[in-house]
Symmetry: C2
Subunit: 106 residues, 2 copies
């Protein structure tokens, strides 16, 4: 995504996903794009931000923990995560956090 | 930073910093590098991850809110943030969040 996400007043949740790709991660980019599109259709989705150079960081924002659980159970997302674990990621971390406050440029 | 951060058992805190740079952000890279080095010297610092392509995302991890406040008050960091607001960032967001759980590849 090309712009910082616009999110509502905290509290809400952020899923911080950090990864290092394998040298040959064929098919990864298309699936990652597709997952960003699908996530945006989920109930409770608030926004997503993603950048990659040496490592990749994707932060998705959610209304509540229930929304995160539902996205985790979404069939195409389950399959994409399996592909990620088996083929694309050399290493990855997922951190589920509760955003307490937010500020920034006007 | 080139690798995902290794953090302790939650709970701990994550500061999610998202930004879009101005076309000409002269001096930004050096200062950003220096701030990553200085942050790592702070009491309560747990790790940092950073990536930039269209947008930049830097996530720093902290033991507690007091550590975040102290880093925010550090003189060189205060000055760097002023430069950021005045010269480098077209837009930025800061989100302070409490990491509740974490998992990932072995």
């Amino acid at each position: 995504m090309s712009t910082p996400a616009v999110t509502p007043e905290p509290p809400y949740f952020a899923v911080i996903f950090t990864s290092l790709l394998e040298e040959n991660a064929e098919g990864y980019e298309e699936t990652a794009e597709r997952m960003m599109e699908l996530a945006a259709l989920q109930e409770g989705f608030l926004g997503i931000e993603s950048a990659r150079d040496e490592i990749g960081i994707t932060v998705s924002y959610w209304r509540d923990e229930a929304s995160i659980r539902e996205w985790r159970a979404q069939a195409a997302h389950v399959e994409a995560r399996r592909m990620g674990r088996e083929l694309w990621y050399r290493t990855f971390r997922v951190r589920v956090s509760r955003v307490e406050r937010e500020y920034g440029s006007p």
